[in-house]
């Protein structure tokens, strides 16, 4: 397909980007890696008058250590997140999830912030970000604000980022020493997950002291499986104990029905994949 005509702006700073957005008004679209936006434009599902490309804003790239958290710049590519030693040490769950995200081409172009701001509930980063209690730094004309993960994902393709705002970085509390696993269920490798489960487990001597479980594609936003998390505390990482805890993985979810499976099948998958993800994260 061919996109309709639009104006293209590639500012060098966040400030310039914000003023470009302010000038363009509500017809503007922010482009990060373009891996979701370009198909949308080509299919003419969206016809913005201005596209503001963040690709030249170097300050939005990279990962830094910030005490009890690591901070990932919104324009850091998936492949850079995957290769980053800070991420691997303190937020292994992200490393595991990003490793399986789409295909190598997308991982080299697509960005961490772009994928999260796109908020596809079948996207691979929402559930891990949620599970790790990430917070989202959003820049606007009035300065920056920070939104907790629980408040960031509002609905299908909808986040706390408003018109005229830009997601600049994501703060991820350190989960140093936690085991992690991203269990993704697909029919073909390049597909969005039918269901995926992100699990991070703090286990000591085979006993789980803390667990975080996020669900991909089980509702209109990424979800936290809190009932599972609570049930896991104090349990030993055995198949039986984890199976019992994982049985409630689909509680409170509202999964879609589509060509890859109906809602009931997804609820079932969520319990199986949760068990597998938690066991793998616990090293069992």
């Amino acid at each position: 397909m061919r996109p309709a005509e639009f104006e293209y702006v590639a500012p060098a700073t966040v400030e310039e980007a914000l003023s470009a957005l302010a000038e363009a008004g509500e017809d503007a679209k922010v482009m990060a890696g373009g891996q979701s936006l370009l198909p949308v434009l080509r299919m003419r599902l969206n016809v913005p008058s201005v596209v503001v490309d963040l690709g030249r804003i170097d300050s939005l790239r990279g990962v830094r250590d910030d005490g009890d958290a690591i901070v990932i710049g919104a324009m850091t590519t998936h492949s850079d997140v995957f290769a980053d030693p800070l991420v691997r040490e303190h937020a292994l769950l992200l490393t595991k999830a990003v490793e399986q995200l789409a295909d190598p081409q997308v991982r080299h172009r697509g960005t961490f912030g772009g994928a999260l701001a796109h908020a596809d509930p079948a996207g691979d980063l929402g559930a891990p970000a949620l599970a790790l209690d990430a917070s989202f730094v959003i820049a606007g004309s009035g300065g920056s604000r920070t939104v907790a993960a629980d408040d960031f994902f509002e609905d299908l393709f909808t986040t706390a980022v408003q018109d005229g705002e830009i997601l600049t970085e994501v703060r991820v509390p350190k989960h140093t020493g936690w085991g992690a696993h991203y269990e993704k269920f697909v029919r073909v490798a390049h597909q969005w997950p039918i269901v995926a489960v992100a699990a991070a487990v703090n286990a000591d001597g085979g006993t789980i002291s803390e667990a975080r479980v996020g669900l991909t594609n089980m509702g209109s936003t990424p979800l936290r499986a809190r009932a599972v998390e609570q049930a896991l505390v104090g349990q030993s990482a055995t198949d039986e104990a984890v199976r019992a805890a994982a049985a409630s993985a689909a509680e409170g979810t509202n999964p879609p029905s589509d060509l890859n499976g109906d809602a009931d099948y997804r609820r079932h998958l969520a319990t199986v994949l949760t068990r597998r993800a938690v066991l793998a994260a616990a090293g069992a």
Partner: protein
């Protein structure tokens, strides 16, 4: 000049050597010449306006805004071209009383599938054409659409109300009536064991990598059409007949074509429209599909319901097979649409000695994209059915599926064998291919592992699938095609031109689009003429260079087209002999030809073929009455089809907790006769396997109840990549075909035909402990899981849910909504 002297001894036989493809250096370094690369001065670009509705009356079209759009040259509707567009051709009416609907390139007053063209915009750039197409305002009055094949067969809603029925034609083969076997009804009545099954052949989309693309230059003496087609010669004739342009005023060029798989065996509305707009405007015009247009409006494949009744004795001997097909034509009859299921009519009996056989096929119209050839075309459907049934018979009798096949197949010493369907299988050795496959597979070990997993209730179960297939290839003996009322012959043409410098041009009437013909034809000609592989240029795909031919499909190119190359090369040698005799001062009878050299028997006198080419070109010293030049033309019309066969074995693991499938091992032992280039054969087998496995596990064209294609992009139409397949274990046995001089059988479709039932048989085999006897294709994890848990009636529930949304259509501030978007664009 004696070109043959430099020839390395190890290349004495080009045929059989694993030459790398001559084509590839150019293709992989970006020097391919695709149709979309054609750029001519003053060229206009076309964009189509397509119907979003499967069935609707066109009540009004307002093109005024589109015409005012920037750089738009013209906008044409069906009404504008109604008198000149003719009707798209169907070259294979299968019955005298076949019902058909005239097929306009641009719909005039009614659209009959979603994606049908209602208007075309020509502008100075492709972007401007697309922009203007969005502005064409079409008013539709929706009509009831018939989407489901079985509902269509009931005639409650009609795809074409004026026809009074959705049944286009009925075709029967009955062995009792034909005198080739007994009565199938008697066999069923007397059966000790009766297996009755109904299988669904889902609709597939030929996902060629290069979308369809056409360009027409009307500025010369002839119309020159570049087309990403498999069939430049047929296209040339059909364009002439459709548009009333003298055939001599049309030249078709198919330069590099990026895959077809039967999907480009068509005369398309877009080709005719590009020609029409070029004729109207007098300017070069070009149209290139978007991917979604390719998927929605390029013809689809398969789409059948198959009712099968197999009669057998308790010892496993088959006694009869009855086939009742419903075949979905879609909304129109394309070039060979009605004949596709009939190509399967002769193949439902596979390699087995059925004493009685009946095939009944009803062709049905629906309001969907029309179907036509797709890799295998009728034969994969047939092979799927019989190979599934043989496994079911084995399960019913608690026999090993290979054993039940062995009991019934044609033994190698029984060839040539005339089947109950009336075909003579010339050669084959099913025992040898099966033995080799079992050995490579480790059949007994895997069966033992399967037993262990079953006994221990392992959550991961192992399934083993068998497919001992054959197919009819080398389309085709012209007389047979005539008897089936096909609109053309099945011969092929080649020309060998000996150039004065000793180089050789081989012109072929087949039209490669990825197969590697240039390489293989060079090997054939090199061996035959004794000239170096590198000195041979293979010319094709331009009707002004290759002036006659019947193009590429049905695994015919090597079997028929390659044989024509052999015949033409032999004629060159015969033409050269009198000249050689004259120059060597010997009698023609004493001239021998070997390895590129003509010599006088019993002497050391001789002359190379290159020298002779120069001598005959200069013509200074030719025998009286001999014309200059050594070039020769030949055609080859096969005396019979060829019958490749093979044994494919598939082992896969099923995760019973999720329904997920993981392939463990896949062995393919094919017998494709003599092999010209093992590397090309390997490539065809691998690609074919993946395409067939994809039907078993992944691909399906899904429409919603309104007839809208839901799986309209690669997000939802799951074409596998290398990441989804395993390394295949392949080998070959060789029993040469007896119906062509090369002894080849064809390999283009083998993998696709064989693999689908092997995989589904493995899935069903894994689920045997759960009492499952079928899983509808594609065998999705959800269907498998539901089959295991008894909630999905064999996992056969129709897929009619929506696509997964991944793009934020709703929240965009200025996205066009409602009917506005439907008019201009295709979703």
């Amino acid at each position: 000049m004696t070109v043959t002297e430099d020839r390395p001894a190890e290349q004495a036989h080009e045929i059989g050597s694993a030459r790398r493809r001559k084509e590839d250096q150019r293709l992989i370094t970006g020097r391919a010449k695709w149709t979309d690369n054609v750029m001519l001065p003053g060229m206009l670009h076309l964009a189509m306006v397509r119907s979003p509705f499967a069935h609707a009356k066109i009540t009004h079209i307002d093109v005024s805004e589109a015409k005012k759009s920037r750089n738009v040259v013209t906008v044409l509707t069906g009404a504008d071209v109604a008198d000149e567009q003719g009707a798209l051709p169907c070259a294979w009416p299968i019955a005298e009383d076949q019902k058909s609907q005239a097929h306009p390139s641009i719909a005039v007053d009614r659209v009959t599938f979603a994606g049908e063209i209602v208007a075309v915009v020509a502008a100075r750039s492709a972007d401007e054409a697309r922009d203007a197409a969005e502005l064409v305002d079409v008013d539709y009055e929706e009509l009831p659409a018939v989407v489901d094949l079985k509902e269509a067969a009931a005639d409650t809603v009609l795809a074409h109300p004026d026809l009074g029925t959705n049944k286009s034609a009925f075709w029967q083969f009955d062995s009792a009536g034909a005198g080739t076997g007994g009565s199938v009804d008697d066999a069923i009545r007397d059966a000790e064991v009766l297996i009755e099954r109904e299988y669904r052949q889902q609709r597939l989309i030929p996902a060629y990598m290069e979308p369809r693309s056409y360009a027409v230059d009307p500025t010369g003496e002839q119309y020159v059409m570049w087309s990403s087609t498999q069939i430049p010669h047929i296209l040339k004739l059909m364009l002439a007949l459709t548009l009333g342009i003298p055939e001599s005023k049309i030249r078709v060029i198919a330069q590099d074509v990026g895959g077809g798989f039967g999907g480009k065996l068509q005369v398309t509305p877009e080709e005719v429209i590009t020609m029409l707009v070029a004729r109207r405007t007098g300017k070069p015009c070009k149209y290139t599909d978007t991917r979604s247009e390719s998927m929605m409006a390029g013809h689809h494949g398969r789409d059948q319901w198959q009712k099968l009744t197999l009669a057998a004795k308790r010892d496993g001997t088959v006694t009869g097979l009855k086939v009742d097909l419903l075949a979905n034509m879609g909304a129109y009859l394309g070039l060979v649409t009605p004949g596709i299921p009939i190509l399967g009519a002769f193949m439902f009996i596979g390699i087995y000695k059925f004493p009685a056989y009946q095939f009944n096929c009803t062709n049905i119209f629906t309001n969907l994209t029309w179907t036509d050839a797709y890799r295998g075309a009728g034969r994969p459907e047939a092979t799927y059915a019989i190979e599934r049934m043989m496994d079911q018979l084995a399960a019913e009798l608690d026999m090993d599926p290979i054993e039940v096949r062995e009991k019934n197949w044609i033994k190698h010493e029984e060839f040539p064998f005339t089947t109950v369907a009336g075909l003579e299988y010339d050669s084959g050795n099913y025992e040898a291919a099966t033995a080799r496959a079992k050995e490579m597979f480790g059949y007994d070990e895997l069966r033992a592992e399967q037993k262990r997993r079953r006994e221990s209730n392992d959550p991961v179960q192992l399934g083993i699938g068998v497919s001992t297939f054959t197919e009819m290839c080398g389309l085709a003996p012209s007389r047979v095609l005539g008897s089936l009322n096909y609109g053309a012959g099945g011969w092929e043409h080649a020309q060998v031109r000996m150039l004065p410098s000793g180089k050789v041009e081989v012109v072929t009437g087949v039209s490669p689009h990825g197969q590697g013909h240039v390489t293989a034809w060079s090997q054939i000609a090199a061996d035959r003429l004794g000239v170096p592989f590198e000195d041979i240029e293979v010319l094709h795909g331009d009707t002004q260079v290759s002036h006659k031919g019947l193009d590429t499909y049905g695994s015919r190119s090597l079997v028929v087209g390659g044989s024509a190359v052999v015949a033409a090369a032999d004629k060159v040698i015969e033409r050269a002999k009198p000249i050689a005799a004259h120059l060597l001062e010997a009698s023609v009878d004493d001239i021998e030809f070997e390895a590129g050299r003509f010599s006088v028997a019993g002497t050391d006198k001789g002359i190379g073929i290159g020298e002779l080419a120069l001598a005959s070109f200069s013509a200074h010293n030719l025998p009286d009455g001999v014309e200059p030049g050594l070039d020769a033309d030949a055609t080859f019309d096969p005396s019979n089809f060829s019958f490749p066969h093979g044994t494919h074995l598939c082992a896969l693991e099923i995760d019973t907790e999720t329904g997920g499938v993981k392939m463990r091992k896949y062995v393919a032992v094919d017998d494709v006769g003599n092999i010209v280039n093992p590397l090309l054969v390997e490539g065809q087998v691998h690609g074919g396997l993946v395409q067939g496995i994809a039907q078993a596990l992944w691909e399906e064209a899904v429409h919603d109840a309104a007839g809208t294609l839901v799986s309209a992009s690669f997000v939802d139409y799951l074409v596998p990549t290398a990441a989804d397949t395993i390394s295949f274990d392949t080998d070959r046995t060789v029993t040469p075909s007896t119906s062509n001089p090369l002894g080849t059988k064809g390999v283009g479709e083998a993998g696709t035909i064989a693999s689908t039932p092997a995989v589904v048989n493995a899935v069903v085999d894994a689920l045997q402990p759960f009492g499952v006897s079928d899983v509808q294709m594609p065998c999705t994890p959800e269907r498998i899981w539901k089959a295991i848990h008894g909630s999905g009636a064999g996992g056969g529930e129709p897929t009619e849910k929506g696509a997964m949304p991944h793009f934020d259509e709703d929240q965009s501030p200025n996205v066009a909504t409602g009917t506005d978007t439907a008019q201009g664009d295709v979703r």
